[in-house]
């Protein structure tokens, strides 16, 4: 499907919109190459031919009206043609077709959360079936983000206080990267997600499976905690190797005394961690921005216990 002359420049082509995009891109590319070669070629030829050592007499002229009219009209027609072609592709790219399958997207410094109609939720992973039109209804909890799937050639800013939408239809199963492309501070470049396109039957199976609510008791709590920390994207801001990111590192955190912005200090114990997960910005740690989202209502008490066990285990 990718018979494009410039395919080595392009990202993957994951939808029909993307291949229409490729055609338009190639056209503008060929026009550009034509004019570039023409103009630079003429310039170099002039520099060579009319170099002062080769020229006895300059033939001065003040202009040439028909030439000037020509190079006004030809570019005008060309750009209007490109505009019209662009508009046709844009309409298809931008207007979600009726009857699309809806997923709600919430952007938050620095993760993408997805909510599906049957109550399923995912973080950092958008799971959709192949060959189905997907419409994303998006908003932000804090600053402006931008939802960008290069392989689908779609991008839409995600704005607090506003719903924006974006649609795509994947033509084959596979994985595609999702970027945040509007600068949103500290870990902007880590605000990635994966678009997982599953074959219809596999997707249906995923869709119908209830998330395991009971904990897998066969593995130790700190292992469960590690999985949960990944699920809730804790490690976007808290490292496990001792380096400071947006928040304090988890390594050697438990049992330490932290200085708080109120001037008090606090021992990091089980209660401290639980409080920080549920009400993170009531009294922040000195030296770190107070930007952590609250997990109140999203995380169960058992899960908090597992995460505490995980943090406890990170000791040198």
């Amino acid at each position: 499907m990718n018979t494009n002359a410039f395919s080595y420049l392009l990202p993957g082509t994951g939808s029909h919109v993307a291949s229409w995009w490729n055609d338009l891109f190639s056209f503008v590319m060929w026009i550009s190459i034509f004019f570039f070669v023409l103009l630079i070629g003429i310039t170099l030829a002039f520099v060579y031919k009319y170099h002062h050592k080769k020229v006895d007499k300059v033939i001065d002229s003040h202009g040439n009206t028909s030439l000037e009219i020509l190079w006004t009209i030809v570019p005008t027609i060309l750009v209007l043609f490109i505009f019209a072609w662009g508009w046709l592709v844009y309409k298809k790219m931008h207007r979600p077709p009726a009857g699309s399958f809806e997923v709600r997207v919430i952007g938050q410094q620095w993760r993408w959360k997805f909510a599906y109609n049957n109550g399923k939720n995912t973080v950092g992973e958008l799971i959709v079936p192949v060959g189905k039109r997907i419409k994303l209804l998006m908003t932000s909890e804090d600053v402006i983000h931008s939802f960008f799937i290069p392989d689908m050639r779609v991008k839409q800013d995600v704005v607090p206080g506003l719903y924006t939408a974006l649609w795509f239809e994947a033509i084959k199963p596979g994985e595609h990267v999702i970027y945040c492309s509007e600068y949103c501070g500290g870990l902007h470049s880590n605000m990635l997600a994966t678009l997982k396109v599953l074959p219809q039957d596999e997707w249906l199976e995923w869709w119908r499976t209830q998330e395991k609510t009971e904990r897998d008791l066969s593995i130790p709590p700190e292992k469960r905690g590690e999985g949960l920390a990944a699920k809730y994207a804790c490690m976007s801001c808290h490292s496990v190797d001792g380096s400071s990111l947006i928040g304090p590192s988890f390594r050697n955190l438990f049992g330490r005394t932290e200085k708080l912005t109120s001037g008090k200090s606090a021992l990091v114990d089980e209660d401290y961690i639980r409080n920080k997960i549920l009400k993170p910005n009531s009294d922040g740690v000195v030296g770190y921005p107070q930007v952590m989202p609250s997990f109140q209502g999203q995380i169960s008490e058992e899960e908090i216990m597992d995460i505490i066990a995980f943090i406890k285990s990170l000791k040198d």
């Binding site: 300059v58 662009g86 506003l162 492309s181």
Partner: protein, 534 residues
Amino acid sequence: MYSDTTADQEEKNNYLNHSKGIKSWLTSLDHKRIGVMYLFSILIFFLVGGIFALIVRTELWGPTKTFIDANTYNQAFTYHGTIMTFMVILPLIPSAIGNIILPMQLGAKDVAFPRLNLISYYVYMSGALLAVVTLFVGRVDTGWTFYTPYSIRTGGATILVLAGAFLMGFAAILTALNFIVTVHKLRAPGLTWSKLPLFIWCLYATNIIQMLATPVIALTLMLLTFERLMGIGIFDATLGGDPVLFQHFFWFYSHPAVYIMILPAMGIINEVIPVFSRKTIFGYGGMAVAVFGIALVSFVVWGHHMFTSGQSETANFIFSLITMFVAVPTGIKMFGWIATMYQGSIRLDTPMLYALSFLFVFLVGGLTGVFLATLPLNVHLTDTYFVVAHFHYTMVGGAIMAFLAGLHYWYPKFVGKMYLEIPARIGCVLTFVGFNVTFLPQFVMGIRGLPRRYYDYPPEFTQLNQVSTVGSFLIAFGLLWTFLFLIISAYKGPKAPRNPWGANTLEWQTSSPPYHENFETQPIVTKGPYDYHS
């Protein structure tokens, strides 16, 4: 040709020797001295902005951490962008070169309001220092675009930078007003509008944009300051405001600002190409009209920065369509420059080499602009490295190459010495090669989808990033080389004659360097600015 006594007179009365001491410079009302002060101040900021560029490029040598953390990286690209746009490229050609050359090309003794000229320099400097001082008190990480609501929420000394940009805008308005009045009132006898050098036309168009657009950014920055201080709720959605409104305000100024940067650059190219081709500029009228065409259109295309912001389809339709028309006058200029060389007698001195480099990079900048004007292509390419490469091709490739063309072209007039030709040509080649090595790979990264302002990136982009980083150091080397030899030339260069290039415009009729009040006697204009053969 001149007797010794005339030479002595020239030496004693030129603007550099007219009065001595640092105070005589700092309080000078001479437009040439004020221009020189602008030039040195701006070049120092250029160095600072350049160091930040190298910090950014060095950090991007590999994915994840190379030598600084994410927050420092975000500050580095913020300072790079803020310094380079507000403190360097916006004032570079108008306030530095324009200040020196504009009155002389008009055959005037000075600008219309010399005191206002000096005031605007100090207003600019206070703004610039206010912005730079934040490096030591608080730092800023908003990006040079200050998008809300991030710029409302983030910490740091954002307000100081906003106030600095506000003051620098004020200085730009004062300079623009001064130049406009000067062009209207102080033209030499015989210098009719149709005989004005195109450099003046370009500065004049630039000044009109500065006067009309700068107040908008001033108000926007003020609203943002109030928002930060008092939470008045203009841009913050949680207080009933609209964050996208900020983008409309910001680009309503910042798109015309792009043309504040590029029109004076085009003005320099308009001077250099005819002189070094010994030919009249091709289609003087069309060239002048094209400049005003670009200036006019620049006010009604701001929405093309916001195709993915959530603005309406109707707005996207209109802005994309109008943006397409920018290509037309830009094309006219490009074709006109090339046609000027036809059947001429071309000399490849350094200013002409820079002008040819300008044609090359500006053509790439212009053509990639057509990609970005095309709606669906823009949706994919916006906020990626493609945009970064595109605006560096226009802003750096365009404005800086043209500035260097002008700096070498007028160097004999500024300093009274010729620059050293061979090292200058080498500097041009180094900068040109470095520039393309830096920014061509960024087009590829952008097309493949890598967003801009990314501290960390997928490993597949490592090689392209490394090529780009090598290129950035080559630019730095080329520029340092160039400026080093310009400094050496001031001491070792041969004495410059009045008119080393055989140009027609008035600044070449006075001594090099010019007298304190520019001309011995009032010059009178009888022929066109590019009329070399009558």
